[in-house]
C-alpha cells in the first residue's frame, strides 16, 4: 500500500473574531489516497473550503496534523505538489489564454521552449486547442474556467484542488464540464480534491464523498462510491446513483445541515 497523498489527523482551525472564536474545523480526520477523486460537500460554513485551503497552505491549522505527500503543506507547496482552481477563473485580462497558462510557469522559472510545449499539452487536455492567442473576454464563462484548469495543470502537480470551480456556471455548461473533468482525471491519474454545493455533482464525480457540517466544521460521513470508473451522464438516473445521493442527503440531515 502506498503512503496516502493527504492525511489529516485531529485537524482543527479556530478563527479568533470579535464575536468570540469560530470553529471552522474541529477534529477532522481524513485520508486521501493517490488517484482518489474526493468531493467535499456541505452547507456554507462547514469548513470544506477551509480544509482545502489548509491543504494548499493558504490557511494554518491551529491544532492537529496535516501532511501532503508526507510533507507539511508549506513544503508540499514549494515542491509544486498541487494546482488550485478557484470559483472564478480569475484569468488576467491583459494576458492571452496562452499567457495566462504560462503565468505559473514563468513564476516557477520554466525554460521558454518547455513552456510552449506545456501550454499546447494542457490546452489539448481541456479541449481549448487553437485558443492560445485569444484574450479572456473572447471566451465564454465555461471556456474561461477550462482555461483556469489548464493553468493549474500546466506545471505537473499530482494534486488538483478545486474550490467550487463550476459554482458560477449554468447547469448545462456544468454537466458538460463535469463530464470533461472525469475524462481529464482518467487521462492524468491526478488526485483531486473538489469542493461543491451540489449533491449530483459530488456523486457523479467522486470516488469518495466527504459530507461536512457546520458549527463546528466537521466531517459527518465519508462515503466510498460504488459507481464504476466509467461514468456516462445518464448514469445519474440509475438506482445506484440515487441511492448514493440519498445517503449524502441523510448525512447532511444528520449534521443538521438543513436546520
Amino acid at each position: 500500500m502506498q503512503d496516502p497523498v493527504i492525511q489529516a489527523q485531529n485537524l482543527s482551525l479556530t478563527f479568533q473574531t470579535n464575536d468570540g472564536p469560530v470553529h471552522a474545523l474541529k477534529d477532522v480526520d481524513l485520508t486521501i489516497e493517490k488517484g482518489d477523486f474526493v468531493s467535499f460537500i456541505g452547507p456554507s460554513g462547514c469548513g470544506k473550503t477551509t480544509f482545502l485551503r489548509c491543504i494548499a497552505a493558504l490557511e494554518k491549522p491551529t491544532a492537529g496534523s496535516l501532511t501532503v505527500n508526507g510533507l507539511t503543506p508549506e513544503e508540499a507547496r514549494r515542491n509544486r505538489a498541487y494546482g488550485y482552481v478557484f470559483q472564478h477563473a480569475g484569468l488576467y485580462p491583459w494576458r492571452t489564454i496562452g499567457g495566462n497558462i504560462r503565468l505559473p510557469l514563468e513564476i516557477m522559472g520554466y525554460a521558454k521552449s518547455d513552456m510552449a510545449d506545456r501550454v499546447q499539452h494542457v490546452l489539448k487536455l481541456v479541449d481549448l486547442e487553437g485558443f492560445e492567442k485569444k484574450f479572456p473576454w473572447q471566451l465564454s464563462g465555461g471556456m474561461q474556467q477550462r482555461a483556469s484548469i489548464a493553468r493549474a495543470l500546466a506545471f505537473d502537480a499530482d494534486i488538483l484542488l478545486m474550490d467550487e470551480p463550476f459554482g458560477a456556471l449554468d447547469e448545462i455548461v456544468r454537466d458538460h464540464l463535469n463530464e470533461q473533468l472525469l475524462k481529464l482525471w482518467a487521462k492524468t491519474g491526478k488526485t483531486v480534491g473538489f469542493v461543491t454545493h451540489s449533491i449530483p455533482e459530488a456523486v457523479y464525480l467522486s470516488t469518495k464523498i466527504v459530507v461536512m457540517s457546520p458549527r463546528p466544521g466537521r466531517i459527518t460521513d465519508v462515503i466510498e462510491s460504488t459507481l464504476p470508473r466509467e461514468r456516462p451522464l445518464d448514469l445519474r438516473e440509475t438506482p445506484e446513483f440515487l441511492a448514493l445521493s440519498h445517503r449524502v442527503r441523510e448525512g447532511l440531515r444528520a449534521g443538521h445541515s438543513y436546520d
Binding site: 494548499a56 493558504l58 498541487y82 478557484f86 472564478h88 480569475g90 491583459w94 513564476i107 484574450f135
Partner: protein, 310 residues
Amino acid sequence: MRNLLPILTVLGGIVLLWYLAVAPMNIRVALDQAERAGSTITPEGSVERRSVSVFRLMADNSEHVRAAYALDRPRLPTPAQVGAELWKTTGDMALKGRAFSNRSLIYHAWITLQSTLWGFALGMAVGILGAVAIVYSRVADMSLMPWAIISQTIPIVALAPMIIVVSSQLGIEGRGVPKAIISAYLCFFPVLVGMVKGLRAPDPSQLDLLKTYDASGLQSFLKLRLPASLPFLFTSLKIGIAAALVGTIVGELPTGAVSGLGARILIGDQFGAPLAIWSALFAAAILAGLLVTLLDLTQRVALGRMEGRA
C-alpha cells in the same frame, strides 16, 4: 459624431451668455469714452452714473451699447476679441517667424509646458512610489496617507512663494526647479490615490492564486498588481497633468516671473491689459486640453492593446 451635438449646444450656450454679459460689464467704460468724445449721455458725468444700475444705463443710452463690444481695454472682452488676440499672439507671430519672441504666447506656453512636464514627472514618481509604500507597508499606510491628504488642504498660492524663497536660499538659480516642485506638489496626490486603489484592485483570490505558485512579493507586484493598476494610473495621470499645469501657472504668479503663461496673466493684470489676461488663460486651457487628450489617446491605445481589443 453623435457626441458633437451636445458639446456644441453647451458651447453655444456659454458663448451666448458671454456675449450677453459683455454689454453690462463694459457699458460704464463705453459711456465714459463716448462722453469724452462729445456725445450726450444720461445722466451726465461718470460720478453721477455710479449710482445708476448698468441695465438702466443701457436702456437710457441704447445707441452706445454697441460701443461696449468694441473697447480697447474692456472689463470683459468678447469671445471674438479674445480669439483675435489669441491669433495675434500665436498663429500670426508664427507666420511671421517670431513664434519664440517673448511677445508670443507660443513662447510663454513652451516655458510653462517645460515646468509642467518636469513637475508632472516628479509628481508621478512621488505618487507611484508613495502608493507602492502604502500598499506594501502598514506603517506607511497609517503615516503617509494622512500627510498626503493634509498637504492638499494647504492653499498652494500660500505655499508657492515659500517654496521659491526656500529654493533660492538653497542656492537654486532660476525659477525652473521651484516651479516644478510646486507643480509636483499639486500633481502627486491624484496619482498617489489612484495608484493605491489600482495596486489594491486585484481581489484576494487572485493574490491567493499567486501564493499557491509560491510567488515572491516582487513577482506578484510585477505580474499582478502593477498591470492591474494601469487603468487607474491613466485616469490619475489625466487629472495629474491638469493639476501640474495649474501648479506651474500658480508658481509663475507671485514671484515677478517674466516668462510663462502665469507671468502673462500677472503682467496683463498689472498693466491693465485684460485681453492679454484672457488670451493667456485660453492658451492655458488649450494647453491643458491638449495634454489631457494626448494622455487619453495613449490610454486607449495602451489598454486596448493590452487586452487585445485594438
